[in-house]
């Protein structure tokens, strides 16, 4: 033993040398299991569980064709949320950072998405066999980027005055949009028949499990956010801990979602990395509570323990009197 170090046996809390009472570990566990199973069954019978059907691109393009086309144009001209996201989807944005710490950038593009190609050009080329559509895609692809931007900007602006025509088609005032209207009406047609839901999932393989592309496409539109807002699930509605319907959600995320509601996080472009850092630090502190002076002394200062162990202290006091 090193000099000056207290022997372990001197720690009064290491071993209990006082009285013991008989106890049935297995019986206690069995009763606990029975009680919890019964409560779970009662809650299940009383409340069941939520299951709101997912949104499909087919539904979205039918229920709100203007929003669908607006989103598709933003994917084509590279102005959508995904198109400008940066890593891990593309190099078009810097990603979030905290001082010089840029993990998003450092870890690079692991799920590459070229929004114009993946969401518009490739589905049009692979699904629609009409010569007019192929010609429109070819015209668009061979135009200068300045020309492309002029067409898509004019078209995007005109979408503000768009009307939904027969068969859920989108009509806009005439203008110089180049091949964009043909491309968009074709893409809308594919989406409304359900073809785009499948097209965005396909890759080189037959079996599919990765929904990144269709989910990001829908997230760029307002279809998911509109449903979420109605259900109170938005980030600024403490939505992270909420569940659809009137079910309790992930209430254990209360502290995590709390930070997003207050400044500077509620207005910061780097809110996610700042909140992740704070929660990471707090989680580490939580694990290391026994080693943090001050925090580990709180239970001694606020003596809740006197209530918890009141039987024990009462016995000690009685023993002291006799």
């Amino acid at each position: 033993m090193r000099r000056g170090r207290r022997p372990l046996s001197a720690d009064p809390y290491r071993e209990w040398k006082g009285g013991y009472r008989s106890y049935d570990l297995i019986k206690e566990f069995s009763i606990a299991f029975g009680v919890v199973l019964a409560i779970t069954l009662v809650l299940t019978i009383l409340f069941s569980s939520p299951d709101e059907k997912p949104t499909t691109i087919k539904q979205w393009s039918r229920s709100d064709p203007v929003d669908f086309v607006t989103t598709a144009v933003s994917e084509l001209d590279g102005t959508s949320g995904t198109a400008t996201y940066g890593p891990p989807y593309n190099h078009n944005g810097p990603g979030q950072h905290m001082w010089f710490i840029r993990p998003q950038k450092w870890l690079g593009v692991s799920h590459p998405i070229d929004t114009a190609r993946d969401y518009v050009l490739a589905p049009l080329s692979s699904i629609n066999r009409q010569p007019a559509v192929h010609s429109a895609v070819s015209t668009y692809e061979h135009a200068s980027s300045k020309q492309q931007a002029a067409w898509t900007t004019a078209y995007s602006n005109a979408l503000g005055k768009a009307k939904v025509g027969p068969g859920d088609s989108v009509t806009i005032p005439s203008g110089s949009y180049g091949p964009v209207p043909i491309m968009m009406s074709s893409l809308l047609g594919i989406a409304q028949t359900g073809g785009l839901d499948g097209a965005l999932l396909t890759s080189k393989q037959f079996y599919q499990t990765d929904y990144t592309k269709p989910l990001l496409f829908m997230a760029d539109g307002s279809v998911l956010a509109n449903r979420a807002q109605a259900e109170h699930l938005l980030g600024d509605q403490w939505g992270m801990m909420n569940e659809t319907g009137s079910f309790p959600g992930q209430s254990w995320l209360w502290l995590y979602t709390f930070w997003y509601q207050i400044k500077p996080f509620s207005t910061s472009a780097n809110a996610d990395i700042l909140v992740m850092t704070i929660m990471g630090a707090l989680s580490l502190a939580f694990i290391l509570v026994p080693l943090i002076p001050g925090v580990r002394d709180i239970p001694r200062w606020i003596p809740v323990y006197k209530l918890i162990w009141r039987d024990h202290y009462r016995e000690l006091a009685r023993a002291g009197r006799t």
């Binding site: 606990a32 989910l215 659809t244 606020i302």
Partner: protein, 235 residues
Amino acid sequence: MTIISPKPAPPRRRSWTLAVRERAVGAWPPEKLLADEQPSYVSSWIYVFGVLSLAALLVCIGSGLVLTLKGPAWWHDTGVGLFFNSLHLWSVELFFFFLVIHLWGKFWMAAWRGGRVRTWVTGALAFLVSIPTALTGYVSQQNFDSQWISTQAKDAMNSAGIGAFFNLMNFGQMYSYHILVLPAVVIVLVIGHVLLVRKHGVVPPFEAGKKSQRRRPRQSRSKPRPESARDAPRA
């Protein structure tokens, strides 16, 4: 032909197996692992929340196993599937409910005293790992909840660089994490936590250790125990 040697067996050589066995049996003798006694100060309802959390975890694993056996789409289409999904959801809610109360109780008892830091750390880690375990479950539901949660939570993952290898919108990856990787980590942590509780016992009350060490009980109405067991703290 068997030759029976009259010579005594040579002394046993130290082996890794023997070393592990001796350490394990030393740390967890049967009377400690499955104790039939506990310290007299263990007298409060707050002590039941650890075992309630454990029971909720078992209900959660059981209902999850049924959902796993039938595949991820089953519960959307059948009443029995919805029933097991509901059991799974409510057992998760109960697991966190009991776990947090257990945690509050252990904090106010300063249960890390007397060489029990590792017991606290494994418990805290089990709680923290349970959070992504639940999250991956929420994004594996294949309903609107999954769509919304995965597209929202991706930004936090991406900002920290986690999104590069943990993609909430990849159902296949999330399902694997939810039904295998993360539950395995939680279970290992919980087993470690319970073993540490068995080894070190429940923390004695504040300032009680010294006093009670001075006063040995004059008479005991509990049954006598062998001396080796008496030294072992109980939970």
